[in-house]
Point group: C2
Chain length 462, copies 2
């Protein structure tokens, strides 16, 4: 079969890329793991075309890697031998906005920022908010059950998806869930597809829950010498009955990167910075900020500072969100790559887990940035490594971080998924819980959806 010609028959000539140079551009996502050049890249415009493409690939044993913004951090969107890439970027429309019913319908390649921009006029928003929201797509965040900055208050993506249109490898198009705010209709296939990293079906439409924006948000910056103090200060806020909207921590290297990129100065002796958002009603903002400041002051800070203006607030938020890109730039300028590590522990384990993570960072000896969502126990480390000479070292650190999380009653992935990177760690985690049977069940489920194994083979498990 002439694959290219067959694909062109489905999507037209301009919907298929097949030149070497074009294909090469799809070899990588934002992880450190390179894939193979795909056989072709195909750009469908609707579910019908996706269905035709999957049918074609399913009957010819050709692998299919669905791709949104390409911002996976675990290699979950890199191609493998005998696979094509399904670039969904043409399917990026917001189709319906139902404020009165609390939902929005969009295609997979609408970005999170686009969706929230669109909802601004209505004073509504979609809570999941990965730091990559500028280019992370709805479909991508669904595929990894993305968390993000506001997960401490609103949970992960899976709590916000009401229903999906999914194309199965057979070409069959199914609609899971519904347009209602809840339902009890047997097995929750919507929830099963969320987090399945493109291995069960291709999401071509999503019905997501949206809610009114909080009336008021205040933003507090605090600097500490010790990470433990910062972690205890956040615990203290929560003990006062206040769940922050955002509670981020950043180490000194992060501060330096943000200082460079956004002219955000920081106190000399600071080793840990907290960025805390408090969302509440306009009547309560001052009181809540006051309680939070007091809690932050109780744990030996160097400085506690509440943003005074909207401009100030936005600068801080922007600084946090560009941390990855700033790290990436620094890495590139020195011929290195960035590996973003992700692990999660119960919040009370943060002080001890962070101490061990810092030890492990020292031990590996690579330049690295420690930060994360301190409110829900989500730890990230950006490692700068030369993949030719330091890959094994970096991978050793990833393994160590996963083990620290497991030692502290945590999980090896908080929000980035498994992809290619963490297949071993996933097995470790399941074994630790005497639950390796879970892997068998996952594989059986995979078979029910994708009997020939064409979708994103080798991701999550072998």
């Amino acid at each position: 079969m002439d694959l290219i010609a067959a694909l062109q028959r489905v999507v037209g000539k301009d919907g298929v890329k097949s030149k070497d140079k074009e294909l090469k551009a799809y070899q990588n996502d934002k992880s450190y793991i390179s894939g193979k050049s795909p056989e072709a890249v195909v750009l469908p415009s609707n579910a019908k075309q996706v269905s035709e493409i999957l049918k074609l690939c399913n009957s010819n044993g050709i692998g299919v890697v669905a791709r949104g913004g390409g911002s996976s951090l675990t290699g979950s969107s890199v191609p493998y031998p005998k696979s094509i890439v399904l670039d969904l970027s043409r399917m990026n429309r917001i189709l319906e906005t139902r404020i009165e019913d609390g939902y929005l319908v969009a295609e997979p390649c609408a970005t999170i920022d686009e969706i929230n921009k669109h909802l601004e006029n209505h004073e509504y928003f979609y809570p999941p908010d990965p730091a990559s929201s500028g280019f992370a797509t709805l479909g991508g965040t669904i595929s990894t059950n993305a968390g993000g900055l506001r997960a401490i208050m609103y949970g992960s993506t899976k709590e916000w998806v009401l229903g999906l249109e999914v194309v199965l490898p057979s070409g069959e198009i199914i609609n899971t869930g519904s347009r209602t705010l809840k339902r009890s209709l047997g097995y929750d296939l919507t929830g099963l597809v969320v987090g399945s990293e493109g291995t069960l079906g291709v999401v071509t439409k999503a019905i997501i829950k949206i809610i009114p924006r909080p009336e008021s948000i205040g933003r507090i910056l605090a600097y500490y010498k010790r990470f433990e103090d910062a972690a205890r200060a956040v615990e203290e806020i929560k003990r006062k009955g206040i769940t922050p909207l955002i509670a981020e921590f950043m180490d000194r290297t992060s501060m330096e990167l943000m200082a460079e990129a956004k002219r955000l100065p920081f106190p000399e002796r600071a080793n840990c910075m907290l960025l805390i958002d408090i969302a509440t009603t306009k009547d309560s903002l001052d009181r809540f900020i006051g309680i939070s400041e007091t809690a932050l002051r109780k744990h030996d800070p160097i400085l506690v500072n509440t943003a005074k203006s909207r401009v100030d607030m936005e600068r801080l938020h922007a600084a946090r969100k560009l941390l990855f890109m700033a790290t990436e730039e620094k890495a590139k300028s020195t011929g290195r790559s960035v590996i973003v590590a992700d692990a999660i522990v119960p919040p009370s384990e943060m002080p001890s887990a962070l101490a061990e993570v810092q030890k492990a960072m020292k031990k590996v000896g690579l330049e690295a940035v420690l930060f994360g969502h301190i409110g829900d126990g989500n730890i990230h480390v950006n490692i700068l490594a030369n993949l030719k000479t330091q890959r094994a070292k970096a991978e050793g650190f990833l393994e160590a971080l996963g083990e620290i999380a497991l030692d502290h009653n945590g999980s090896v992935s908080g929000e980035h998924g498994i992809g290619l990177e963490k297949k071993g760690l996933l097995i470790k985690e399941l074994k630790k819980r005497d639950s390796i049977e879970v892997l068998r069940l996952m594989k059986e489920i995979k078979k029910s959806f994708d009997p020939k194994g064409i979708l994103n083979k080798g991701k999550i498990f072998d």
Copy 2:
């Protein structure tokens, strides 16, 4: 094999019931559909015993129906030929309370009220709150993905379960999810088991998310002549950016039942009553109540009244929660049964859907009570019917209600599940969405978990 003796070897003599009279007590749940007398009732005390029992049944082809509070409204906990009942009432402990980490671990037969009572001292709570919370167990609410009064603000059970200990038919004990507030670990088996009505495994432990209680709650009663006005008034509150904690509606018959049971008088001309809870900070309560009252007043109410005291508030809440029992008593005293119907539509469809439901109620001509969670579009009807003479009529109404929901972009079950009652309606809903393939996937998933089909056979699908 002597089944009784074999079961006794696992749980001791006092852990097995086998007398005809004892067995008969397990034939029914709170639905109108009777089951068969089980072969035996066995009361395990721990996961290990559950595992032994399932192994035994799996190798001998004996069906197993797990049972908590027996409050299923769709027949999902009634036994069938050649099955035993696994009565989990001995497994009712709260095992861990981790306020600082935002979770609690409990056995399946802790009731929802027990859990919330336990959390009171900590000023925390578990949001899912079915009207049956006094006897509904955690396991039961997990099995049906229960919603309840606060679902408008907090969603359903599936959004609150972090992890599960599940015994599979093979006897294998697995732990799904984790003790962290989020995770991305491949297919979400936790979410798959939630809502699976005991057909995939037996839940022996659950890790659930808990949060601080709202600072302040105000309760407003409003009475309307027309249902449409009541529905529009609730829409109006939401349009003002306020999501009520609770937004219940009740028809005149409900008011009469509550008046009798709790001496709750109501205005002569009232046909629809609203019970609205507003949860916010203490600084904002008066303002939010004011906004809500204004919204309620805009739509031609007969009376709008905010509860003045805690005693008042509790009386109202108690009245709403005993609606089912009051209906049941009335039915029993006249030799009838109560059939509780459940359907859901997008909230903006409520005015037109409710008009059609009332027409259908008139047409069937049985005494019936119309009420539900108006804020999230969840409609309930309690039908009083003599099952010997009026069963077909009542079933006709259930079918009609499901079809009204489907005509209004809704679902045939909002929170009660499918059980035996709605297998036909589930198929109708899937067909309406061109998604009958979903049923095949459910059956395949069932096979992966329960290859011999011993668990709660015939529930959800045939």
